[in-house]
């Protein structure tokens, strides 16, 4: 934990300019094409950072190539002899680069990020949110996807039975096998949801091509809704599998 540099990081960013602060030539987005100097970071979203439209189908190998190329310009190791202001920009730019790459290369994180850009607050289904709800006594909203209702109900009954068995020290291999089978089915469903999500990506990208202007259209709102639904179902299944594992391993 450094103490001295705490407030140093967020200095006001100089006004957006089209010429390099150092040599005056027209600059590229993150570093100057003429003199190579790192430029002050502009507050942009991750897609814009990579010069990409906010589309969900993207080539990860191309993204990786761009990531490596930008790293070779922006990384603090390669700017260690620059002035302190430039070093600071290098630190900020390269953390922005890393954050953007980490988010965009992962299909789920990329979708979540785009949804957040579109103003969607995703239902927190993370384990920490669950723990937090448990610790504070809040009742956490758990929307059971309708198509899973029956399955989940049965599975929960079986899990409860297994918990009791374990408490009593009884063994029921048939029950464990049955639960294991259901777990495999859930895991398969979990995987298939990614494919379903990808079909909505294509719809989203097409809608964007049709009407590139920002702002919502009915079309887009509907696609967003479908993607949110897939993500929620996916999270729900993930939590369920985690619960099953917890009981099986207990």
């Amino acid at each position: 934990m450094t103490k001295s540099s705490l407030t140093a990081i967020t200095k006001p960013v100089p006004e957006e300019t089209h010429s390099c602060w150092s040599c005056g030539s027209m600059r590229a987005a993150h570093f100057c094409e003429s003199c190579g100097k790192v430029q002050p970071p502009a507050p942009v979203d991750y897609f814009t950072f990579f010069g990409l439209p906010p589309k969900l189908n993207l080539s990860v190998p191309a993204l990786e190539k761009e990531f490596y190329e930008l790293s070779r310009k922006l990384h603090p190791d390669l700017n260690a002899r620059a002035g302190s202001q430039e070093q600071e920009w290098s630190l900020e730019q390269s953390s922005l680069l890393n954050d953007a790459y980490r988010t965009l290369r992962d299909p789920i994180k990329r979708t979540q990020y785009l949804l957040r850009l579109e103003g969607v607050e995703l239902e927190e289904q993370s384990k920490s949110a669950t723990e937090q709800a448990r610790a504070t006594g809040e009742i956490k909203k758990q929307i059971v996807p309708p198509d899973l209702l029956e399955e989940v109900f049965e599975l929960n009954m079986q899990l409860e039975e297994l918990r009791m068995n374990k408490k009593m020290g009884e063994d029921d291999p048939a029950l464990i096998e049955e639960i294991g089978k259901q777990k495999l089915e859930l895991e398969a469903k979990y995987e298939s949801l990614l494919e379903e999500l990808k079909s909505f990506w294509t719809q989203w990208d097409a809608a964007l091509d049709l009407n590139p202007a920002a702002g919502s259209s009915d079309d887009r709102t509907a696609i967003i809704g479908k993607m949110v639904d897939v993500l929620n179902r996916r999270n729900y299944i993930r939590n369920l599998v985690r619960d099953v594992n917890a009981v099986l391993e207990s």
Binding site: K3, I9, T10, A80, R81, S95, N98, D99, S128
Partner: protein
């Protein structure tokens, strides 16, 4: 003065090294004793002067209460998390230690924090480098275990500053090692680095791509290494001795250190021999005799080396890779010399590991490569770039004592995350934030990094302020925090209460060699060292004059020597170290024949049955030649 050299330092649990790039090759800089490894042992002599390295090792046995080793184990840790160490290591914590205070270790009648002790080791390495270059050294890259947390990293950085070094970068040890390997073998692929050192274990998995070294996943245990094997063997020996010889030596620090030394030797022997015979002298004229076979030894250490399996599997899982997908495995750290460890690695990764580079030196060599990159690079390092990750997730405590992870482990650094905070009561001006590091769900199970107070939030109704807090992990793996209240645009003041570690002011007060005086300090020290060398050679010459060899010199030769001796004595009174060294060199040259004659005399008198002492070669700083030319040029 030419461009300042940046050195690479491996500050190890057991041994430390300093290296630099000589042209296209990284090389280790030896100490005055000609040895590359500087044992990480610090002792105080009777005048409370610090002695470091090989010379301090005998103090460990003779005056154990004035010596300390394996201090790295205590870096960045609090009194409550070193209880295990205290049972196994003879660390003497200061008696007046207050809760929450940085640890202090007692050496004789003085106390030192772990960063101060590490700084003494660093200063020794700095001096070795300065002696080698003949110029001051103030900038360094220092390696740390990949799995070191924020506090341990900060403590290492503080140690550098105390030693008068600007730490340009902290590099993870396994990553540094991969840089050293990468210099020779420019290739693409997936590499696993298995680093089992004296006190720490790391596993890192990297993707090599046209000179970019991208760490994909890392894991480890910052308290697992050769030390643990030593302690196990010592415990067994002490139990044996108590049972068989009715001698309880557990409180006898001298005896424990003697046993420790014997056990380390036995451990090393067992890496190449099928068995070892222990025969250790004990107090009360007793002896501890025992044979340990390789088989017994391997059974004993199995549980220790098995502790590396979990982290390896986790790293593979995090990297989303199967063992078959690893192209190369590299071994780093002295403990990887143990055949059983090599067998384990082979089993884990389904391939024969690389051992081309000396596992004790490869980390320092890699640090030198990184130092070269930071210094602007050279032809050899032109395309090289290291992209490392943070080993532990960063989180903040939220309601109910739960950790909300905001930067996940294995994120490429620098990395950042932004969180928004608001107030709970009208006009509230402060918000408290608790920052944590670790993988556990509950805050209490994670490592507390610091508590922040966001201060000076403009008075507003509850829930209205929107304070943006930015957490940024820099390329050293160290956290920075900044905050801004968005509605007013006002920068919120942050007050940090580091949970473990020194404040800036404390570090300032501990600095051994101030940066401003680096040049002056360096000059003064050179004068002292040059005078010491002059004294040594003059003393050797006096002895030479009394030897039979002196009579074999011609009158002219004697005259020349006398002239040079006088010249040395004259400059020795001045403060010009370069002049002193020049005179030493001259005298050395002039006495080569005398030295040779003395050597011949020594050999022939030894043949006649006289021993070497009677012939008296004198005691030079670098045996066996009493007038060996100083390494310094």
């Amino acid at each position: 003065m030419n461009e300042e050299r940046i050195v690479g330092i491996d500050l190890g649990t057991t041994n430390s090294l300093v290296a630099f790039m000589q042209g296209a090759v990284p090389v280790v800089i030896p100490g005055e004793d000609g040895l590359n490894l500087v044992p990480s042992v610090v002792a105080l002599d009777e005048n409370n002067q610090a002695i470091i390295g090989n010379v301090a090792r005998k103090n460990l046995i003779e005056t154990p209460e004035r010596a300390v080793y394996s201090i790295k184990r205590l870096m960045g840790r609090g009194v409550e998390d070193v209880q295990d160490e205290l049972r196994l290591f003879p660390f003497r914590l200061a008696e007046d230690l207050q809760p929450g205070e940085v640890l202090r270790i007692t050496l004789g009648d003085k106390t030192f924090t772990p960063p101060e002790i590490s700084a003494l080791i660093l200063r020794q390495l700095k001096r070795n480098a300065e002696r080698f270059f003949g110029a001051p050294v103030t900038k360094a890259v220092i390696t740390v275990p990949a799995y070191f947390n924020d506090a341990q990293r900060q403590a290492t950085k503080d140690a550098g500053r105390i030693a008068g070094l600007e730490v340009l970068r902290l590099v993870n040890e396994p990553t540094a090692a991969s840089l050293a390997y990468g210099l020779d073998e420019k290739q693409n692929g997936i590499v696993a680095v298995y680093d089992l050192g004296g006190g720490t274990f790391d596993i890192s998995i990297l993707k090599l791509h046209d000179g970019i070294f991208e760490v994909i996943a890392t894991n480890g245990d910052t308290h697992l290494g050769g030390d643990d094997i030593d302690n196990l063997l010592i415990t067994i020996a002490l139990d044996d001795i108590r049972g068989d010889l009715s001698l309880d030596l557990r409180r006898n620090a001298e005896a424990v250190q003697a046993i420790r030394k014997a056990m380390i030797d036995a451990k090393i022997t067992l890496s190449s021999q099928p068995s070892v015979n222990l025969n250790i002298e004990l107090p009360q004229g007793k002896r501890y005799r025992r044979e340990i076979t390789r088989e017994q030894y391997e059974q004993l250490i199995q549980p220790i080396i098995d502790r590396t399996v979990g982290p390896c599997k986790q790293a593979l899982k995090d990297a989303n890779l199967k063992p078959e997908q690893i192209d190369e495995v590299v071994l780093v750290g002295g403990s990887t010399r143990i055949p059983k460890v090599r067998a384990l690695v082979k089993e884990l990764f389904h391939r024969e590991p690389h051992t081309d580079l000396n596992p004790d030196e490869v980390v320092a060599l890699g640090a030198a490569v990184q130092a070269n990159i930071l210094g602007g690079g050279s032809e050899a390092t032109e395309n090289m770039l290291l992209l490392d990750v943070t080993p532990l997730s960063l989180g903040i405590e939220v309601a109910g004592g739960v950790t909300d992870k905001i930067i996940l482990r294995n994120s490429t650094i620098p990395a950042s995350a932004t969180q928004f905070y608001t107030t709970q009561i009208d006009g509230q001006a402060n918000v408290a934030i608790h920052v944590l590091q670790g993988e556990r769900e509950l805050a209490a199970d994670c490592r507390s990094l610091a508590r922040f107070d966001l201060k000076g939030i403009p008075p507003m109704a509850a829930g209205i302020p929107r304070v943006e807090v930015k957490f940024l992990i820099d390329a050293n793996g160290i956290l920075h925090v900044s905050a801004r209240e968005q509605r007013s645009g006002k920068e919120a003041e942050i007050q940090v209460q580091p949970s473990y570690g020194l404040t800036d002011e404390q570090v300032e007060g501990m600095i051994l060699d101030s940066f401003d005086n680096a040049e002056e300090d360096f000059r003064k020290r050179q004068v002292i060292e040059a005078r010491n060398e002059a004294a040594t050679i003059l003393a050797a010459l006096e002895k030479g004059k009394k030897s039979a060899a002196w009579g074999q010199l011609t009158t002219d030769e004697k005259k020349q020597i006398a002239k040079m001796e006088k010249a040395l004595a004259a400059v020795n009174a001045e403060d010009d170290y370069q002049a002193i060294r020049k005179a030493i060199d001259a005298l050395n040259q002039g006495t080569t024949r005398l030295a040779e004659l003395m050597m011949d005399g020594a050999v022939s008198s030894a043949l006649k049955g006289k021993n070497m002492d009677e012939t008296d070669l004198g005691e030079g700083p670098t045996p066996p030649h009493p007038m060996a030319p100083p390494e310094f040029q």
